[in-house]
Amino acid sequence: MSFLLAVCFIFGIGPPEAVKACDRPNDAGKCILLSWKLSPDDAGLKSYDIVRTDAFGKDTVVGSVPSGIGSFTDESVRDNVRYTYRVVARQDSLRAESVASGIAVSRAQWFNKARVNVLVALVIFSFLVFYFIRHARAGRKLFIRRIAGLDAVEEAVGRATEMGRPILYVPGLAGISQISTIAALNILSEVAKKTAKYGTDLLVPNRDPIVYTVALEMVKEAYTEVGRPDMFKKENVFFVSDNQFAYAAAVDGMMVREKPATNFFMGMFWAESLILAETGAATGAVQIAGTDSVHQLPFFITACDHTLIGEELYAASAYLSRDPLLLGSLKGQDWGKVVILAVLVAGSILLVLSGIKGLSFLHVIYSFFNIS
């Protein structure tokens, strides 16, 4: 050891200093954060080795970082075990070791304090939604402005009926946990009620097995609700494949063979959006699309007759059904947007003012929004 220190002194390699180890805050445990002051000879170093000492005094090299970096995250620790760390600066065969850090213990936190803002937002939105649902259920009239793409739904179903052709409804390619898929299934229910009334065939190819079962149930229920359970054809709601392009190829084939008069593309889409919409346009079908995928919206706008942009997709089911529950939640979301705008404007003003001497207490807003 003394020999090493002597070598370091002769060749001028200084050890890293001020090694600090602490539990990573707001996590599920099994992690310790390390930081240190770089060696004064950092420019000539190769790397820093991180040596961990456990409660039994056993040393383990847990990682290495290149020179110039003064931090490390150790994700190989166990919770509730006391560890200390040393950082070893290395240049070929020369080493310079830091003093050991203080004791660090990793623990899981029950509550992520960095997400307080999400909790506040969730409480405000939930309150607004429940308030307006109650308002709607009390029988008060709630106004929703006209959404052009949705006015075309009735017309599109009527057109398919007149032409004696089916309607194709693609409920997106995502799983059930996507909000756009849930919105697409709500719209499917409304479209199914209309096709049941008009006696038009409704084809619903699915990519996700769980979405398929939900879609099947929703269509069946819609047919029953309008008093036409006999019109429901179970085989028209089907699973195709969970492979993105196999699904797109099959739906394309369906469009050119079955020649649906109307195509609905609602929900989440990826690269297949243009393949589907372009084929549908080539068959002469009226196309109504809706997605919250920013990258796919331009393709739908160019290839479809009507496109529901982002939140219009979420609003669609309320707009079509006029159901108090959905209307109330849409209204709640609307006022949630007003709250967001108010926060944006007021937050910006207060953050700008926090730069003024004497108003630095306003810096608390930075931590609320996790702005560094």
């Binding site: 494949s241 953050l351 700008v352 996790n370």
Partner: protein
């Protein structure tokens, strides 16, 4: 020209041409490629689901290590099969309710975090953004864009008068964003086409190197 001697390259090349033949309309070659693709992908999916989920997440821990708690998801999963029995098809609503509830619970806080809180963080003007004129100008442009776009998606009022003006500014922002996204994505799609052409001309026909 050096034609590939590899049988699988020939299979890939012919299937690529079969799919491209759709550009001339539906035909037996496309139908063949489409049905083959769907069939192979479903078979592949079943194998993947079995080896990646069913066996390591259910069979091994439940029957191998005796983790009895997994009986709960097993029963929920089996409920989906009730759809094939007319008399008990209602049972499928139990796992569906569970999945929808779980999906919403997972999605709503995540969406709030990613689509609301993060966007607010990025759009707020701070005292630091005022330090340079260019960051100040761009942050104002962003803030106006956010406000007008959110107003466009306000459904509780008819878009007329000043609200219409603001909403129209919002739709201009949206369309500029879509234009940029369109160009970016088209470039990515063309690179996919180039990849296929390279496969045909290099790997199969050997006319380019």
């Amino acid at each position: 020209m050096h034609l590939s001697p590899d049988l699988w390259v020939w299979v890939g090349a012919l299937l690529t041409l079969f799919v491209f033949s759709f550009l001339f309309g539906d035909n037996p070659f496309y139908k063949f490629a489409e049905h083959l693709y769907v069939g192979v992908s479903v078979g592949y999916m079943i194998a993947i689901y079995y080896w990646n989920f069913f066996k390591p997440d259910l069979i091994e821990p439940l029957f191998g290590r005796g983790e009895l708690i997994l009986i709960v998801p097993l029963i929920l999963g089996l409920c989906y099969l009730a759809i094939f029995i007319q008399k008990f098809s209602w049972v499928v609503r139990i796992p569906m309710g569970f999945v929808l509830g779980w999906g919403s619970g997972i999605a709503i806080p995540a969406v709030l975090q990613a689509n609301v809180i993060k966007q607010i963080q990025g759009s707020l003007i701070t005292s630091q953004t005022l330090a340079h004129w260019n960051t100040f100008v761009w942050s104002i442009v962003v803030l106006i864009g956010v406000i007008t776009t959110v107003i466009y998606f306000f459904f509780s009022r008819e878009q007329k008068g000043s609200l219409k003006v603001v909403a129209n500014i919002g739709i201009i922002y949206i369309m500029i964003g879509f234009g940029a996204s369109f160009g970016y994505t088209v470039m990515a799609r063309i690179s996919l086409l180039l990849g296929r052409l390279q496969f045909l001309l290099r790997d199969w026909l050997g006319v380019i190197h």
